[in-house]
Assembly symmetry: C2
Homo-oligomer: 313 residues x 2
């Protein structure tokens, strides 16, 4: 039996997984991301933790095919993390250093893209080769996978579909500096922002006024429960997201969209309504593109990372 | 010296070119597209014409690397033309048949994509690897080239950026069946349609009323000459096109957009204004994407076709 490791390096925790090359997750665990001393302990900590796990599981070194990793921000083809958010690295050759520390071949990519590969390998997009995986949380990202390969883009900026312009009326800037990006509406942050605006600016009756700290989940739950104001907000969320994905599909023509991230816990109701708006805005030739929920949750990153070191046929 | 042929198969004419493998066009010519008998003469006619040209030029058969071709509509990876417009073929294995008829290796693709490869090989996008080539004529197409390779899409429908939805107010359907596609505005047809609408529905003074048969060029020329109505129409054309390309860039993050097709004869004024709107709608991380005019005109197809049979390093 051959094995591989998948490592998802975040600002607070590093998630790690031991996989068979067939894609079975044997064990997952996490370690703290030690950011002291310019984050220089992170890779040695990972190497040590992997070695310990290998010994615990009585696996021969030769039976480990390699280590895949994901980090925030752009990552070059040869595994250099350019400027990962929440880590103090700058052009860090993660693949090279992790390979030297562990003795295994290492490959890596941007965390959103790597999680997308995970969903394609063993998640909601299993069996597909042309996939767009859209995690929706604080913002909107997208992993654009074509013929089984991530499209990284010239600046590592492919898949920034959260910054497709959708609205001329908002006067608040997006985190990116532009105005009217879809992620100002169709994200967890966007849902809450829209809800607070309506609560402040109107007298409309809504259960959303009852929350001291309003969260995206509250808005969606209220919409599901029939609150009209909440439903209107949720509808705008789905409208703008469906629109952006229709534009994305006109460019790249995928087989399937996978909706993931924290907001996707809303479930099938979210997928269904986004797809309804997608069909409204997409041209007829691509209206049959499939939609599904991500299935791996927070494990998508370690799955995808592991998949990177397995030679595909 | 080694050579190759590029063949651009259209509904009225087949354009052919003899190239050195370095990309020099030695000779170009065209033959009629004989559509009688279910278009069955087209490929034998091409083979005969190429053989004649080889003999005329005293080139050894061994020195011809192959024949590349472009046809309208989707073309599979192995060179099957699925349903080319204006030709009576259905799932025609063009590469296979043309290879049997000529004795050379053959490869091909969709004509818009192949022309895009031409612009990358020896035209406006020379030296770039991540390129979007946008021919604007009756409609809007796009060749999406990533890492030097065409992105074909799941249904052969990648690059259908002309069908990005941009307008909720138009009540006329696009040729694709949807309503509000960018090519209903930002194409030769779109320019004329918008102009006629304003002439009919308003009393505004404009030189456009003087034309018996109004063409796209007339609208752009009038705009250049300072006609306010024409300038407003041209501005909307550039606004919607710039918007669509900003959305395209958010998805695919190219190095450069190349504007081609009949409308691109308008020149730098077109590129400049489209780019101004692109910058307005694009998120800051990609606002520096370059814009340039296509330079190969109607020869882009034979260039790109020829480039397909040359092994790249």
């Amino acid at each position: 039996m051959k094995y591989c490791f998948g490592v998802d390096i975040g600002g607070t925790f590093v998630k790690l997984g031991l996989f068979t090359v067939e894609g079975e997750l044997l064990e997952k665990w996490q370690i703290k991301t030690r950011r002291e001393d310019n984050s220089e302990h992170i890779l040695p900590d990972i190497a040590e933790s992997l070695e310990q796990k290998r010994i615990e599981n009585k696996i021969e070194k030769n039976d480990i095919l390699g280590v895949g990793f994901g980090t925030p921000g752009p990552v070059t083809e040869d595994g250099v993390a350019v400027c990962p958010a929440n880590l103090d690295w700058k052009n860090k050759p993660v693949a090279k250093e992790l390979s030297e520390l562990t003795g295994y071949p290492c490959k890596g990519g941007n965390d959103v893209n790597v999680a997308g590969l995970g969903e394609m390998w063993r998640g909601g997009a299993k069996g597909y080769k042309n996939v767009v995986v859209v995690p929706i949380g604080t913002g909107i990202g997208a992993a654009i996978i074509y013929n089984g390969q991530i499209i990284v883009g010239t600046r590592g900026a492919a898949g920034e579909v959260g910054h497709i312009h959708v609205d001329d009326e908002i006067d608040k800037k997006c985190g990116c500096g532009a105005i009217g990006c879809v992620e100002q509406f169709s994200s967890a942050t966007g849902l809450v922002r829209m809800a607070k605006k309506i609560i402040e600016e109107t007298n409309r009756e809504t259960s959303l006024r009852n929350f001291e700290v309003l969260e995206a989940k509250d808005v969606i739950d209220a919409a599901k429960a029939g609150d009209e104001v909440a439903d209107g907000i949720f509808d705008k969320f789905c409208d703008y997201l469906g629109y952006s994905l229709a534009a994305t599909a006109a460019v790249i023509d995928p087989e399937i969209f996978i909706i993931g991230g924290g907001v996707s816990k809303a479930g099938q109701v979210l997928v269904d309504r986004v797809q309804t708006y997608f069909v409204k805005y997409a041209w007829p030739g691509i209206r049959d593109i499939k939609f599904a929920l991500a299935t791996l949750g927070n494990d998508a990153g370690i799955y995808g990372a592991a998949s990177m070191v397995i030679k595909k046929d």
